[in-house]
């Protein structure tokens, strides 16, 4: 299916406002979708016979930096029987990044969303187990944000190496 058909497919069901635009430049081609409808869009794209995206390959967040003041969450979908792929992108505000979870549509999203929360601070509402996954539970800050400053100390241990220290 072409990207324009996916756009029409989603818009037919969930209204004009569901899809904001198309990114032809991305590989696979991407739909930029409304953040508040993300769960419905994902559920519809999985269950529809024409799209049938039964696998969520990758879920990731992107920080656009303090100037742009936005964050993106990117979903890479793949359909095993139809052999087609699609990218979904959503924009969310950087000061309050919150999005509905899709982990009851694809269970694999559970850990991926936890990772996005851990490293970017994107909160997924409705997630059953929203806590850090890679960093320690009491770590301060979100390391993958563009303006993140590494703390000098964690539990009495120095985290910043001195100049010339080989350790």
């Amino acid at each position: 299916m072409e990207i324009a058909e996916f756009k029409l497919l989603v818009q037919d069901r969930l209204g004009e406002s569901a899809v904001l635009s198309i990114d032809e430049n991305a590989t696979p081609k991407a739909l930029i979708v409304a953040a508040n409808q993300i769960k419905d869009i994902c559920a519809y794209l999985r269950d529809n016979d024409q799209s049938y995206f039964d696998m969520l390959s990758c879920l990731t967040a992107i920080d656009n930096g303090p100037e742009a003041n936005t964050m993106e969450v990117v979903y890479n979908l793949y359909s095993i029987p139809l052999e087609q792929s699609l990218m979904l992108k959503t924009f969310i505000p950087r000061d309050n990044p919150e999005l509905e979870t899709v982990c009851d549509i694809w269970k694999t999203a559970n850990w991926h969303e936890r990772e996005a929360f851990d490293l970017f601070g994107v909160k997924f509402s409705g997630h059953p187990d929203m806590r850090r996954i890679l960093m320690p539970a009491d770590w301060v800050g979100y390391p993958m944000r563009k303006d993140y400053i590494e703390p000098e100390e964690y539990r009495g241990m120095k985290t910043i190496r001195e100049e010339g220290d080989p350790s």
């Binding site: 990114d23 430049n25 991305a26 590989t27 696979p28 991407a30 039964d54 696998m55 969520l56 390959s57 990758c58 990731t60 992107i62 990117v74 890479n76 095993i80 052999e83 792929s85 990218m87 992108k89 694809w106 269970k107 694999t108 559970n110 850990w111 490293l119 059953p128 187990d129 929203m130 806590r131 850090r132 996954i133 890679l134 960093m135 320690p136 539970a137 390391p143 993958m144």
Partner: protein, 405 residues
């Protein structure tokens, strides 16, 4: 005078580590929390499992990782593509060639030079990647036998793996972290005499695989321990994003080397083995191990064909330069890109975002196969014995370097 030992488990510890999942009041009186790992051979490196048990039965498993977290993504977003390559090696350190191949392929496709790579380079890439796939599967099969008490197969496959390690060391100069496949080419052409040595090794390996079948796969004790254990249905596997031999063990013929047909795989002849439930149900631990052993045989086929091509059609010539296509500066146009490849453990994907102005990616996310494969653990181990849990962990075959990145 004997002192009474008072044992008291502390459910509040569990409250701290998994607050959303369990409350102290949820635990029944007979239930107990058992910590397995970290840093124990049966947890395959640095993985801690918090197991809620009822007697010997596993009620729930909560995996904790992050002990090996080295911030691959942060590193990859601070250095150019070619300098990020050594970090890619360190993700799946038992199959570094395959990870390199995936990463390099992504960079090449973004630059649009994918079609210009000489055929000889592509065949060498596939050759070393398949050698490494065999080595990786050998670690998986060997340590899996070790997990459930079979020591001999471990020694045997490690002996055979050593030959591969030596050959790859000969190729690249490093034992495990090769940095051999470069964006646009290779670090160096194959050393003189490599093709012949490799063909010799294949002849040596073939009868050994038959031995492996007899001593492990069809061994009665092994079958008893693994058949009907940790059954993973196909739908659940897809829903969890499980790929690689674990998904194929559940009976789905899904291999990216065939589905996507990247590199020179479409020109090569090989089958995709799937689990059939020959010893129990489809998708049990035995099926997963069986698929791995069969894949080793398929990789042997691929290597034979690559050697054939490299010695007949795409011969070594004096003026052949494997670095001819290596770009001076890797600066792709601004775009989002998702690339994936079939690693020994499943689908390894890389998501890149480049801004077109610098040669450092704005965002580089590694979609690691082990990460998704491990997430299914809790669902397939509920209701089995604790000893079976060890068998299930081993059958998934994850590398913690890739889970934590």
């Amino acid at each position: 005078m004997s002192q009474r030992i008072e044992y008291k488990y502390r459910p509040e510890n569990l409250n701290e580590s998994a607050p959303g999942l369990y409350k102290e009041s949820d635990l029944k009186r007979e239930e107990m929390i058992l910590n397995i790992g970290p840093q124990h051979p049966s947890t395959h490196g640095v993985l801690r499992l918090e197991v809620v048990t009822d007697g010997e039965i596993v009620v729930d498993v909560i995996p904790h990782m992050g002990y090996l977290h080295r911030c691959f993504e942060k590193h990859a977003e601070s250095v150019p593509f070619n300098q990020a390559l050594p970090f890619v090696d360190r993700m799946d350190y038992v199959a570094a060639m395959n990870s390199e191949h995936a990463f390099v392929m992504g960079a090449e496709r973004m630059l649009g030079i994918e079609g210009d790579i000489p055929k000889r380079v592509e065949y060498i890439r596939v050759l070393v990647a398949e050698l490494n796939r065999i080595a990786s599967h050998f670690v998986a099969i060997g340590t899996y036998g070790l997990d459930i008490g079979a020591f001999t197969p471990f020694l045997w496959v490690m002996r055979d793996r050593e030959h591969i390690m030596r050959m790859l060391e000969w190729v690249s100069g490093a034992r495990m972290l090769y940095n051999y496949i470069w964006v646009g080419g290779l670090f160096y052409d194959l050393p003189v005499g490599f093709e012949e040595k490799c063909a010799e090794f294949i002849q040596y390996l073939k009868p050994k695989l038959k031995e492996l079948d007899d001593v492990l796969i069809n061994n009665k004790i092994f079958v008893e321990r693994t058949a009907n254990v940790g059954v993973l249905s196909r739908n659940l596997a897809i829903n969890y994003g499980v790929t690689g031999p674990v998904l194929r063990g559940s009976g789905l013929k899904y291999d990216l080397r065939r589905v996507d047909g990247y590199s020179v795989y479409p020109e090569l002849d090989f089958d995709i083995p799937v689990g059939t439930g020959a010893m129990g149900q489809v998708g049990d631990c035995w099926d997963r191990t069986f698929v791995r052993v069969q894949e080793v045989k398929e990789s042997v086929k691929i290597i034979e064909q690559c050697i054939e091509k490299l010695t007949k059609e795409h011969k070594r010539t004096k003026d052949f330069d494997p670095r001819a296509m290596v770009p001076k500066k890797i600066r792709p146009k601004a775009q989002d890109f998702y690339v994936r490849a079939e690693n020994p453990k499943g689908e390894l994907g890389f998501f890149f975002r480049t801004d077109g102005r610098s040669d450092i990616p704005v965002r580089c996310k590694a979609r690691a196969c082990s990460f998704s494969n491990l997430s299914v653990l809790a669902d397939i181990s509920r209701g089995y014995m604790i000893a079976d849990l060890v068998a299930i962990i081993g059958s998934i075959d994850f590398v913690m370097g890739e889970v934590d990145r």
